[in-house]
């Protein structure tokens, strides 16, 4: 009874100036910026959950991890991010986000986010690029700001496709989880901020802990998928993200490594990063190597690995627990449930299943410096936008602002788009197909079953955790072939209610994202980011041939992917494999 049986489906059309798909970290900042710059524009957010707790920030955050602490500059940030990304990033994008860190952090602080300050009123750093916050309510604070700014928010509206009219994005369509309604949003400019993709690979944990993932399991890559289907160009999917996290609880490790200075050790107590990866910076090596290191220790029989916290006092251990309680409470419960105390026991770490996420790595839409995608009228910001890793929360905010400024200027000067009825009908049918199959298809496929099939293919042929994230061309071609059969099965999906209809769209989106990912993994014939992209057949980095971006574009008519390569451009001088130093130190 919680939801009525399927009555007739209603249809509504909303006309807006700017449509924001995804009311998360980037989307909320974009909405506020748009209303501030263009008070007369109508700004609409479509969000598949409730904006107060949707997306990655639902649980809260205890730090802002991309901020220019005193002495740092946008250029020094670019140098560090370039080093951390193994010498290949879109420096124009990274720099443009860094230039706005101060603006967005001050803005959100003004909305009521508590940022920890010392007695002089300066932010408390927690590492070179980090400051501490009390961010339990970070997400509701952002949502309230978007509401107060005057954005129209549609909660529980799952967007299933972009509308394209005359080669230009003209809005999007979707359905409501609550009211059996088909939504058509007609927009002069569309900004996509749906986040990255979890759930492509088999999760670390099973059964009732299958969603005990680091990245939000509800971020399914919908934004990538709808862009791919509409023919937008994607970049760098092959730079997957494999996160180093605490064992089982999958909690972030920055709180340990940066918060209490815990070094990583193997089962023998060796500081293996300093020992084996000194030439790359030891414990300060680029992030992929800090996942690759422990994976290799495990492979060589020297696992498990730990972040050694045993030097801290009982009081520091309490402080550590309190820091986790503001962001990741289950870590604290995990210690209590398993008789572990970080002051006495080193904290065991593991690596996660691979994710696709443009805010940590650089998978996403290929955008220009104003965050315009290759599809006219469509902008991208946050984890769904590519080329600019190390965004985290504040970089997603910054991108939301940058994209909002450009999208607002476009929307202010354009007439409303013309929509083609046959395209709307196509999307209506596609959106509800799995529901229409109910009662019609006798033995159908459940979304969960298809998800498991997809995860099995990705895990076993496309570099899953159980194979130490390694891959070669032969396996990847098998992955391509098996994944290529799944779209032909979409018409077998059967669901009985709106929640399961969402799950059906999530898995269909994941399949197309997985297909694009495989094309990227096959294309890059070097190993640039170990662990993220370990090619056993091309184990070395190859700057001579591969210092460039691998992009794909799917032809909407044929479903075939074409490869496009873009050259890397160095804007900030210096050694690309050196993290740089604080400008004050005279680097």
């Amino acid at each position: 009874m919680e939801r009525p049986d399927q009555p007739a489906l209603n249809r509504v059309t909303h006309e807006t100036d700017v449509l924001i798909i995804g009311g998360g970290t980037a989307g909320c900042l974009a909405a506020v910026e748009l209303k501030e710059q263009h008070p007369d524009l109508k700004v609409t957010i479509a969000e598949k959950a409730h904006v107060d707790r949707s997306g990655c920030l639902a649980a809260g955050m205890n730090a802002i991890n991309a901020y220019l602490n005193p002495g740092e500059t946008a250029d020094s940030f670019v140098r560090y991010v370039r080093f951390d990304s193994c010498g290949l990033v879109r420096e124009d994008l990274v720099k443009s986000q860094a230039e706005l860190f101060e603006y967005v952090v001050k803005k959100v602080e003004g909305w009521g986010l508590p940022i920890l300050c010392d007695e002089q009123g300066n932010y408390v750093p927690r590492g070179r690029w980090n400051i501490k916050i009390n961010g339990e309510s970070l997400k509701p604070i952002l949502a309230k700001a978007a509401r107060d700014a005057g954005a129209t928010i549609h909660n529980w509206v799952v967007i299933t496709g972009l509308l394209v009219s005359g080669g230009r994005c003209a809005g999007a369509v979707g359905f409501s989880l609550r009211t059996n309604t088909f939504y058509v949003f007609k927009a002069k400019a569309t900004l996509i901020c749906t986040g990255g993709a979890a759930g492509l690979y088999r999760p670390n944990n099973a059964y009732d802990a299958q969603h005990k993932t680091w990245y939000s399991p509800f971020n399914n890559g919908a934004g990538y998928a709808m862009g791919i289907r509409a023919g937008a160009e994607m970049t760098s999917f092959e730079m997957r993200y494999v996160a180093l996290r605490t064992k089982d609880a999958i909690a972030p490790t920055g709180t340990l490594a940066l918060g209490v200075g815990a070094p990583m050790v193997n089962a023998r107590g060796e500081r293996f990063m300093a020992k084996r990866y000194a030439h790359l910076g030891g414990d300060g090596a680029p992030t992929p190597y800090r996942a690759f290191g422990p994976i290799q220790e495990g492979k060589a029989g020297r696992g498990p690995c730990y972040l050694d916290t045993t030097h801290i006092s009982e009081e520091q251990a309490r402080q550590l627990k309190m820091a986790y309680l503001d962001m990741y409470p289950s870590q604290v419960l995990y210690w209590a449930a398993n008789d572990l105390d970080p002051a006495k026991h080193p904290v065991e770490v593991q690596t996660t299943e691979p994710y696709i996420v443009g805010g940590h790595c650089q998978a996403g839409y290929w955008v220009d410096v104003e965050r315009r995608t290759t599809l006219a009228g469509l902008f991208a910001a946050g984890d769904v936008a590519g080329g600019a890793p190390f965004k985290f929360v504040s970089g997603c905010w910054a991108e939301g602002v940058i994209a909002a400024r450009a999208a607002g200027a476009e929307a202010a000067s354009l007439p409303p788009p013309e929509l083609e009825q046959h395209e709307i009908e196509y999307h209506y049918q596609r959106t509800f197909d799995p529901l229409f199959n109910y009662g019609k298809v006798k033995y159908g496929v459940k979304p969960y079953d298809m998800e498991v099939r997809m995860q099995k293919i990705m895990e076993e042929y496309a570099g899953g955790a159980s194979g130490h994230y390694e891959m070669n061309e032969e396996r990847l071609v098998l992955a391509r072939n098996y994944m290529g059969q799944l779209p032909g099965q979409f018409d077998q999906l059967v669901v009985g209610d709106m929640h399961d209809l969402m799950r059906a769209h999530e898995v269909m989106d994941r399949v197309v994202v997985g297909q694009a990912l495989i094309e990227h993994l096959i294309a890059r014939k070097e190993t640039r980011w170990p662990a993220y992209q370990t090619r056993t057949d091309y184990p070395e980095r190859d700057d001579l041939h591969w210092l460039k971006f691998v992009n794909t574009r799917m032809d909407p008519a044929t479903g075939k992917f074409e490869l496009i390569f873009h050259p890397y451009e160095q804007l900030v001088p210096g050694d690309r494999y050196h993290p740089g130093e604080k400008p004050g130190k005279g680097a």
Binding site: R53, A58, A59, R178, D208, H211, K212, T213, D248, L325
Partner: protein
């Protein structure tokens, strides 16, 4: 099962159509059963352990424990939001039943008991 709505403590937030736990779950996993006027976690296997539901429950009726594969019974962690909305006291019980509490200063936004969904007809029995 990471979070469990205790049916003895849940009052369905009276006649709320969209109680806080239902609204705040980012995965649309909690539903209200209007027959018995109580909420429950319908999609147990899909929970992310993110806890907005637990913190938003005005009756403190949602219990947080780990999936059994993650940690031993009967450890639990329960937040209590102070009236000033500036502090949370977390009561932790370990697997041996030993209790510990942590009071942290943070900011917790108010959550309304109900919220109208745009486009949803107003039910006849609402007051």
């Amino acid at each position: 099962m990471p979070v469990v709505v205790d049916p003895d403590l849940c009052n369905g937030c009276y006649n709320s159509r969209q109680p806080p736990c239902v609204r705040m779950c980012p995965g649309d996993l909690i539903v209200k059963d209007f027959q018995v006027n109580k909420a429950y976690l319908k999609y147990v296997d899909d929970c992310w352990d993110c806890l907005p539901c637990v913190k938003a429950c005005p009756e403190e009726a949602i219990r947080f424990q780990l999936s059994y594969q993650m940690g031993f019974f009967n450890a639990s962690l329960q937040p209590h939001i102070h009236r000033d909305r500036q502090h949370i006291t977390w009561k932790m019980v370990d697997a041996h039943g030993r209790e510990d509490t942590f009071t942290i200063r943070t900011k917790v936004m108010e959550v309304a008991l109900d919220e109208k969904v745009e486009g949803e007809p107003t039910p006849d029995f609402s007051i």
